[in-house]
Symmetry: D4
Subunit: 248 residues, 8 copies
């Protein structure tokens, strides 16, 4: 039931061609699908918290490109994750930026950055996932700082960066292997912490499950955990937390 | 290096028995253990984000009570989780409140509540975990609202509460079985969502692992996931997110 | 937005106290929760396919009884699963029937039985789950036959009952251990088969996971699989399949 | 014991060269393998519910083609699943249809379509599995409708299609990641639901196990679950449920 | 189709009231269930390899006793596994023997023992499972020797018993924890080895799965593996192997 | 301590240059490594039960060939499993036979075949594993028969071969997917059964774990289970069981 | 072949009743079991590294006591792990010491302590396992120090004890939940570290598997890991490492 | 707080512009990051126990080479693990040694070897992991001996090497499949044992998990276990144990 139909209904009530009772009855059977006119508004609302995104992994280059072109026409601003340099080149969209470590592509103009998101990694191998989180949060409008390779095997490296932790509103901690870094960071700060396990490791790292479970069992209460290698999700959540006052 | 030693060092510098350069050098080698005097300050800072807590499960009543008495003397304000009515009665602390569903006990005076935390559950069996989250966040100083039994099998129940969702700064979603509620809530709001899987279910619910994994794989990006039945952690995280401006 | 409010809106349109445009606008913002007047109808509809049910396991007797009393007042017809004789006796509802093997209690008058549901078990230990399925389907209005203890170790027992299989519209097959019976039954019939794994077994039966996975991997295509020990769900599905023409 | 031997036995009884008692005794020892003459009839019966099918995955192209040629001669009507365009081309059978998304090939003439099967997917990546289900059910003689990309992150998309749900006799719901869609659909309809988990996802999606377990634990009772990515099985089951009156 | 019906059929053929052709046709449709007259013979055959048995675990004492009484009347000779002393006493069957370690009860007269089965255990905690295997094989008619506590931590204990190994026709090796004994025994003999993992251990023994998997991965080829704690099955298999010439 | 040293010791005792007591003492400390002269005999013994074998998978062609050449020189008779046609051709050993389905190569002259091993498969995809078992047992000296594609979806195919089952001394049953065939065969025979799970299947077949666990949980007692795809081990065990009287 | 037989053999050689060649031959066939005279020496050797121990868990009190009495007579010095106060009291052995936290009982006189073993725990709940390790190592003759409750959530607590770490020869680190402490300790020292995961935690702690896997995946190389809750094993290993020069 | 700030503080104390008490108070709040000047010393200490290492697996050749060049400049002495011949050749560092089985590269001059590390393997396929352990320990300064292919299927091979075991200070045991070798070795020696599971095997070897769990559950107490295939870690630990007196 779209606006026009509704208008006709009210007009019919007004001019008496349908009784109030019948109008109530007809609208009572208003099926769910008829409220679809709320879709657009709803979508705009959603987009404040989450960007439009194409998950390129498992799609052919051609599929990615055709979805990207459609999005480019519609909104002009979106992300492609797990993409390749080749996709970037084939995209032929001015201003699209390709981040080589994470394979994320941003399309659309820069937003003004607010708040303060800090992204930490335990090792250098965790950087691709961290970059995905950082680029995503930045793309959504968060100010983002990154400090890489501050794992628990050398705590002084982490302690050198405690100032950055104090300044952050929310901290994303990316770690593979034993996934211990979020616990240590959590013991040093009162900021919300988003822990992202990575699939870095071998044998009993179980493709990241060990880091994931370690993070879920942190002796520091109140650590948010994401799916393995889910830098994009961490960036979205970090932005949601970082900008609580920006939305209605 | 404790206070006394430090005082002697400064006195020696002052009276010239040690040069400034030598003093700097000596303090540069200050071993890690000597910074233990920072403990108290650090702890106070931590407590802004996380309450002192006794996890009663797996401890004897006597153990819980003796730790509680020590905490009562030291800080006067703390939580006991997974406790029993019997512990509450034996506690003999005025103003301690026992919440029967979750078994949480709060000790200490009420804080002024700020912000807005919403706690949802999929079913009535999830209420104990939700109550633990709600009491914890409230105890820490967050304003908390709860809406229970709005699972995905009857979406209208959830939709009836969309106003509460719009008003919240952060939403805690507690669900067992297939753990689908956070995804549906996540599709209707741009607030940060904290998903708490519960061990409600049987067979392939695998003690809550199924709900946990479902939440980690949500098609809505940016959902924070906690350990199974970890209402306390969810309350801590919700408060951290809810009051970003309250701390330094 | 309930009927009364809607009526007032239409009356206002009719008497001109609100313009057609304003009425359209107000109804466009009709929030999701306002369509809650659809709840009752929707529920009635649902109940054609699924009975109201109390899952007693994990609830105190008192909790079960108070929910049962509320349901008894509201609809008069419902099920309690995983209940005890003690609950039955405390229920004090005339005509409530307690089935001792499965612990299911039915409350409410008999419906006319239609169609033909056959429930098979591999062993005698699987009977409690089978009884739950049979009682549920029968309670919903399906004609149900049961044949127990026809496992694959003695195929002649199964073959003796091929006539019953030919007469069924849908066959529920309940089996634990290696869960092979659904495959063998599936090779002998073209009826829809609902396979229910049970937790009967030890060691690598993994609490029913082995039977579950075996059923999901049946070399006979088109077997529906339920959660472990989920006789209630199997009864609901069997009834849904058995009476496709009874609903709109 | 084939027909000829049986005939001789009866002839011997008739002409008195063997007594009735001896005839009974000889036939009592009729071993299982002697009832092999029932094979053909039995097979015809089976084919009413399940098509002949070649599972191409893990076979060489040459193996697939030689089995296909044999089937083509024998019955003229069969399916090849998980096949490639290259196999289709090499097949050289007129009227064979290749479906590119799912890699299913149908061989044989169209049947008259009856009933009403609805196939839904949560995302676009689930379409290959959905197509396999839809083509299979249609090939067997079911009328099939498909609605893709109506996942729980945007419920309005699902609600827009509630009419299609009301018209269906059975609904196949295909979803990966958290596998929440069957629960939501199950809450909106009383039709039998066949849930098919897909391997879409990463990390803790565990190759589809998370979606599978979520579906088995649905809070909506009576959802049939299939093996991961088993669109073919879902199509078979949907047809079995959709056409209960077509068979004896 | 039972004997009487068959007799009538033949009589009708003989007296000409049914033609040979019609008789052949009628018997061609002889449904599977009609061959049920083969049941008894088949069962006797089976019993040569496998005893009648009641698995007491998970049954009430009363259930066990009533099945036992039925079996006692019918065949006089059977086993009860995982039983208690209390059941033995309530059984009131003369000559029933209760084995306290394994909880197995034998009912029925002794058979003449043939062949040579050797049962080894790694530790003393494995004895209950070993006893179940030994009693079962002996009950079926195998000569059985047992050597307990010869685990790999002290190889000399095993080597002291190499003569017993050389004399055996088949060796049952029972072990928990790391399950290494079958590999070591397998390296010292050419006899068929039946490995039985036990649930002895803690932590990563995973209730016996670790021992099971270790046995399945033995570097010695040709070791038969049983389910965890399945002494009864091992006894049956050992007897089947031990007496290949005793059956037809 | 080799023969020569022993000889010297005895000579010294004889000529009195060492006392009996000292000789006993010296031999009492005879370290384990000194009994290495038993190695050869032991090896010959072992070979009666298990062939020399090269597991080609995971080795380079060159590694396989150099080990094969060494074995060829030493014993002239051995197996290579999981090998390729290319290896066969490079082998340049007259009489080496390559089996294409399983990739097994036999080198050495034929032994006289005794006993009777039957190898069954559930489907055609299980044939490579079955062939490995059959070739291995035959190579060791067992008479082997094979019947393929007699899975539980069409029981008549299995029943047609009950004569072959009655004639066998031991039956190897190879099956993937739900692994149900060993249970059904076990219900029809009293022969020792060796069940070999294969990795055939997808999704919840879990690479063969589902078939493995199903076989371990068979409702028919006394089924020997092998590691996934371990046709070679099954062939060794079948031969050990098949020829109990051939060895000392 | 015991001493007496050997003596006779040598005597026969000496007196010429058996030739040197025949003596060599007879001793060449000396079966493995005849070297059993090495058992006692071997055992004494073993005991230098590992104490005699009774694992009380899963045994009846009476079984524990009778084994303990036998050991008391034989060696006078042994351990009982996972025991109860009740067992201690029933033991009636003077000087037996019961440790209440871990349930370990030591019997036998004190050894002189050497070396330096440090036992750390992450939390207070890990103390029982730590005490078992400490008592075991001390019982074997190691000097042991313990520092409890120095988990990663408050690093200053650990740093306060860096002096103890520098003085240790080997460090046992006991931790449950996320198991992060060994990594942090490993980053601060070059001593061998023995990590013991405990079953402390809930939900995804998976009974200690998460801590175990985290420790196996430590980013600090060279950490030794024990089974879950295996304090006894850690004590044995710590002593073996702590006293490398004490044994031959 | 860096050196300059510290210097100013001491100068202020000296000239009386700040009192001793105030100086003590200010330094008490010295944040963690200011102790970063301890980094270098700390690192030097660490390197005594653990070498600098590049884990090449999962890095591009170019990444490995650029890190290697940086390390070469800084310390001149480091390892590359899981590397290729191609990397070795591209390295262009004189004296770099490439070990082909394990793919480890050593750079830097030889250290004097002390102590005695023995590395054993169960099979030839375990050699790459063993070589990694041996090269690592040797590179760090340990004397290393290796004995390969002494698995439990032929115990005499192990016993032949008992002298090597007696001479070792620490024994590394590398084994895949059922992982039984560490238990057998542990029963024959009192040396510390480091067990390294390898991913050698198939099916239920679960990529090495079976060997890992078997080792953790050894019936011999006090065996140190490493992650799957972690030869490098085993080498580090062996060296730490082997040279307890070399460090401070």
């Amino acid at each position: 039931m779209d606006s026009k139909k509704l208008k006709n209904l009210f007009a019919s009530v007004k001019d008496g061609s349908i009784s109030v009772e019948d109008a109530v009855r007809s609208i009572k059977h208003l099926p769910y699908e008829d409220i679809s006119f709320a879709k657009v508004d709803h979508h705009r609302h959603l987009r404040q918290g989450v960007p439009e995104v194409i998950f390129a992994s498992g799609k052919t280059d051609e599929q990615v490109l055709s979805i990207a072109r459609a999005m480019h026409k519609k909104s002009g601003s979106f992300l492609i994750t797990k993409a390749s340099k080749k996709i970037r080149n084939a995209l032929k969209i001015k201003g699209a930026v390709f981040y080589a470590d994470s394979g994320i592509i941003t399309v659309g103009e820069e937003k003004k950055k607010t708040g303060n998101v800090l992204v930490l990694t335990a090792g250098t191998s965790d950087i691709p996932v961290a970059e995905e989180a950082a680029v995503t949060a930045s793309f959504l409008g968060s100010k983002v700082a990154t400090v890489y390779d501050v794992g628990v095997a050398g705590l002084h490296r982490l302690m050198d960066n405690s100032a950055a932790m104090r300044e952050a509103r929310v901290i994303v901690v990316v770690a593979g292997m034993e996934g211990a870094l979020p616990s240590v960071v959590g013991g040093m700060t009162d900021r919300p912490i988003i822990a992202v396990p990575t699939s870095i490791g071998y044998g009993t790292s179980l493709g990241g499950l060990t880091a994931l479970f370690a993070m879920l069992n942190s002796c520091v209460p109140g650590i948010a955990v994401m799916n393995i290698d889910n830098g994009f999700g961490a960036g979205c959540l970090a932005h949601r937390i970082n900008t609580p006052g920006d939305r209605k």
